[in-house]
């Protein structure tokens, strides 16, 4: 191997090495060490409370997935088939929940479905009551609903994209061959969208399975996911329990990741996208129109409502039932460093996520046999491993030895980088795959070295993709609450962590104000992404 090949390997190895040091090692060490203390694996699995938690984690994930699919599927058909003004706007808005941190979702949900929230206030006014009559933002209903909110857009976008790829002449063939609309749906349309539908379902399940902030907020300490229980286990220093649960989690998520990758390899392209057959609203019968409107109302209430009502949450105090700006004043006086921390940590994390994302993306696309799989796996790791375990691993393996424990902000940045990495690497990889290789060959034939080609040809072409990846990573990093909650001391609190603590002490207005700030940041990030990628951000999924 010549020097250039060696240098190439070094570039690829560098991020993989970093990821090994910052994720793999800490997690492995913590997990293995954990088995030597605290509750043994068998005792953990035998404990009724843990069994309940495990069963609950699975059942709420299954239930949430079913609900997300049931609610999202009609919407996918509407988006793909109905022609209406502002459709691209609606599609774009459907992506907003992805970039919203879960803790912000909690605030929005409380405001929409919780006591003295929007729906409650309306019902109270109708019933003439002065105290709360409606509260859906707690317990199992709250958890399932919040999960559904988060994942309906995912189902909707993935399935509608698949529907739009269905050659309309295939459906026409079925029609002319005598198939009724129901038969067409069953024999043609559903088989076509099944891969995307299953992929969306798997992703939804994984997300709900690993859910942490939503469960912490609504679970009342009784309904916990495995992740939340890991968090508790660390807090009571039962490392054995934490390790055991982490292991169970990894087994499940690895299996799911495998399934997901397998699904992704099945082609569902049925040929040229001929002019997509759309119809206008007026072409539907009255009964159908009512159904469509009813469905749209449901989507508005469930998905757009919680986002919109965060504005109200930032100024409405449900305890005193008055409107006030105290939330903002308190946030920016007593908590002025929350915003600074958020921006600073996320900013650094984004830089690292992008810098690491480029060589990782190259690694994924490399022609060698092992490197792409290795790189892809390393990127997916953060999504499948307990954030709390990673956080604890970082504390134990890096912060303590380096004496950072009095101000552990560097490992907060590391944790946020890890969270953002899958998104930056994926966006950059997609951008790379779209580069016309003819351009690269042209550069080669003109005498450019690999480095020159990278710096002067590839990177400028990749710039939009890098920006999109960076902004996505930023949104993920700034909203990260699991690892940050675990690591942060009061001086390290970010907005996300602050929201959680505010909620804990019932400072709802302050929580709302902080949530609004985060929403604004995330929406700006999202708009920047849309602008750069010119409306194809959905492709980044």
């Amino acid at each position: 191997m010549n020097a250039r090949g060696l240098a190439g390997y070094a570039v690829l190895a560098f991020p993989i090495l970093l990821l090994t040091v910052f994720i793999l090692c800490p997690v492995l060490i913590v997990t293995l060490q954990g088995f030597t203390s605290g509750t043994s694996f068998l005792d953990v699995v035998a404990s009724p409370a843990i069994q309940f938690t495990i069963i609950f984690t699975f059942s709420q994930a299954i239930l949430s997935t079913i609900m997300a699919v049931c609610i999202g599927l009609p919407g996918a058909f509407l988006i793909a088939r109905l022609r209406f003004r502002g459709k691209s706007l609606v599609k774009a808005m459907m992506i907003v929940p992805f970039v919203l941190p879960p803790i912000v979702v909690v605030v929005g949900f409380l405001q929409m479905f919780g006591p003295y929230g929007v729906i409650d206030s309306i019902l109270m006014w109708i019933q003439g009551s002065s105290s709360s009559v409606f509260n859906l933002a707690k317990g199992v209903p709250g958890i399932i609903l919040a999960h559904t909110f988060y994942n309906v857009p995912l189902v909707l976008l993935m399935v509608s994209a698949s529907l739009e790829r269905l050659n309309p002449e295939i459906e026409e063939s079925a029609e002319i061959l005598g198939a009724t609309p129901l038969q067409r749906l069953r024999r043609i349309t559903l088989p076509h969208i099944m891969p995307s539908l299953l992929a969306a379902a798997v992703l939804t399940f994984m997300f709900c399975f690993m859910s942490f902030p939503i469960v912490l907020a609504f679970g009342q300490g009784v309904y916990l996911t495995i992740e939340a229980q890991i968090y508790n286990a660390f807090r009571i220093f039962d490392y054995g329990q934490a390790s055991s649960l982490t292991l169970i989690q990894i087994v499940v998520t690895l299996s799911l990741a495998f399934v997901y990758v397998k699904l992704g390899t099945r082609e569902d392209d049925s040929g040229p996208t001929a002019s997509i057959k759309t119809t206008t609203f007026s072409r539907y019968r009255l009964a159908e129109r009512c159904l469509i409107i009813g469905y749209l109302v449901l989507i508005v209430v469930l998905v757009l409502g919680p986002i919109a009502t965060i504005t109200r949450a930032s100024v409405f105090d449900p305890m005193a039932q008055t409107y006030t700006f105290d939330g903002f004043t308190n946030l920016f006086t007593a908590g002025s460093w929350y915003l600074v921390n958020s921006l600073f940590y996320a900013g650094l994390a984004t830089m690292f996520a992008v810098v690491l994302g480029v060589p990782l993306a190259i690694a994924i696309r490399s022609k060698s046999k092992t490197v792409p799989t290795l790189a892809s796996t390393m990127i997916l790791l953060p999504l499948g491993i307990s954030s709390v375990t990673v956080a604890y691993g970082l504390v134990l393996v890096i912060a303590v030895p380096l004496g950072l424990i009095t101000n552990p902000w560097p490992i907060i940045v590391v944790a946020q980088t890890i969270i953002g990495l899958p998104f930056s690497a994926r966006a950059i990889e997609i951008a790379m795959s779209k580069i016309d290789s003819a351009i690269l060959e042209q550069a080669d034939s003109l005498g450019a070295s690999r480095i020159q080609r990278l710096l002067f040809v590839e990177l400028p072409l990749l710039a939009p993709g890098i920006l999109v990846g960076g902004v996505f990573a930023f949104a993920m990093a700034i909203g990260e609450m699991s690892a940050t909650l675990f690591i942060a001391l009061p001086q390290n609190y970010t907005l996300a962590v602050a929201i959680y603590h505010y909620l804990g002490i019932r400072a709802f207005v302050e929580a709302g104000a902080a949530a609004l700030v985060l929403v604004i940041i995330c929406v700006i990030a999202f708009l920047v992404m849309e602008r750069i990628s010119k409306g194809s951000t959905g492709g980044a999924l």
């Binding site: 002449e169 002319i176 198939a179 024999r187």
Partner: protein
């Protein structure tokens, strides 16, 4: 098998464009092709017959019964689409048996029919293949078998061969014609390729800008184009326009492009006239006879058994066909640029005024 009549079939679109009114008769068992340039409305017309277009005015009669308001799935039509559109999640067998499945045929009857069609189209060996493993050419046959499975009365084909290479296309053209003749099924075919239309059709309808320009057998169309559009589209002639200066005894003297031409026919003095001459009826000469018109030689293209001579007649392009090898050799060797040409008078076709 059915007789199809399109009577005043028309569809207006929201952008102001319009297809129709179309008046067309397709006889029982006939192979009729809709031919025309892109945007002429041939596919839309076909889709109107299939029932995929809403808000269609006029009538569509199958053996006298108006089908305009009948659902596509009840029109008992077989259709092959441009994109072939086979069902990707089924095997070849599954595709072909889809129609019978929908119609509730018994298993035995379905299998029998599928095998029969597979034999007819030579795809017996493909029956258990997945669609992704079927090549072009094979796919068209499967689509045809699928369309014919339930014994439809009418077969519609929307440019089914346009994605294939020339050889494959010609082979399949013959197949389609053979099968159609054997089954005696009324067929409407859409293509933009004149060669294809002329090769396989009983009659051809030429569409232009949403209406039928002319209907007839290939020979009728070629020999007697009804108007300038048809003539130009078919390339069946060089088209000229001029002014009638003299009328005498069944002949007209026409001034066109500063040259005199004698044309058989009737007309009014000083009125405009458009006429066409087929390439093989243009005689060229390098000896420049006195009363012949002159044009500049642009190119000579050899073809199978003849030569295509391109001329420029003061800005008007003329294509002439000659078999005279020696003339061509002379023209080539002495680099002569000016050529005289004349028309075989009897073969001049008047297109209109």
């Amino acid at each position: 098998m059915v007789e199809v009549e399109l009577r005043g079939l028309i569809r207006e679109f929201s952008d102001g464009s319009r297809i129709g009114p179309i008046d067309l008769q397709v006889r029982d068992g006939e192979f009729l092709t809709l031919l025309g340039p892109s945007g002429s409305g041939k596919t839309t017309t076909l889709r109107m017959v299939a029932g995929f277009i809403e808000n269609v005015g006029g009538s569509l009669l199958f053996d006298g019964k108006d089908m305009v308001n009948v659902e596509p799935r009840e029109r008992h039509i077989g259709m092959v689409f441009q994109s072939v559109a086979l069902f990707p999640n089924m095997t070849v067998f599954g595709n072909i048996s889809f129609g019978p499945d929908m119609a509730g045929w018994s298993r035995e009857k379905t299998i029998e029919r599928v095998e029969e069609l597979a034999d007819l189209l030579g795809i017996r060996h493909l029956l258990l293949r997945k669609i992704s493993e079927v090549s072009g050419g094979e796919a068209q046959r499967v689509a045809l078998a699928r369309a014919l499975a339930t014994n439809p009365k009418l077969l519609l084909l929307d440019e089914p061969l346009s994605a294939l290479d020339l050889q494959l296309r010609e082979r399949l053209q013959t197949e389609i014609r053979r099968i159609q003749r054997k089954l005696k099924i009324t067929t409407i075919y859409v293509t933009h390729s004149q060669d294809e239309a002329f090769a396989i059709s009983d009659r051809v309808a030429i569409l232009n800008d949403g209406i039928v320009s002319q209907v007839g057998t290939p020979e009728e169309l070629y020999d007697s184009p009804a108007n300038e559009f048809v003539a130009r589209f078919l390339g069946s002639g060089n088209v000229f326009s001029g002014q009638i200066k003299e009328v005498s005894g069944g002949h007209l003297k026409v001034l066109s492009n500063d040259n005199w031409f004698e044309i058989p026919g009737e007309g009014e003095i000083n009125s405009q006239i458009i006429f066409s001459v087929k390439p093989e009826d243009v005689i060229i000469s390098d000896s420049l006879p006195v009363d012949w018109a002159e044009a500049e030689l642009i190119a000579i293209t050899p073809q199978v058994g003849s030569f295509k001579v391109s001329l420029d007649f003061n800005g008007i392009p003329i294509i002439a066909l000659t078999y005279d090898e020696e003339l061509v050799m002379r023209l080539r060797s002495n680099g002569e640029k000016t050529i005289a040409f004349a028309f075989k008078t009897e073969s001049i076709i008047i297109l209109g005024n």
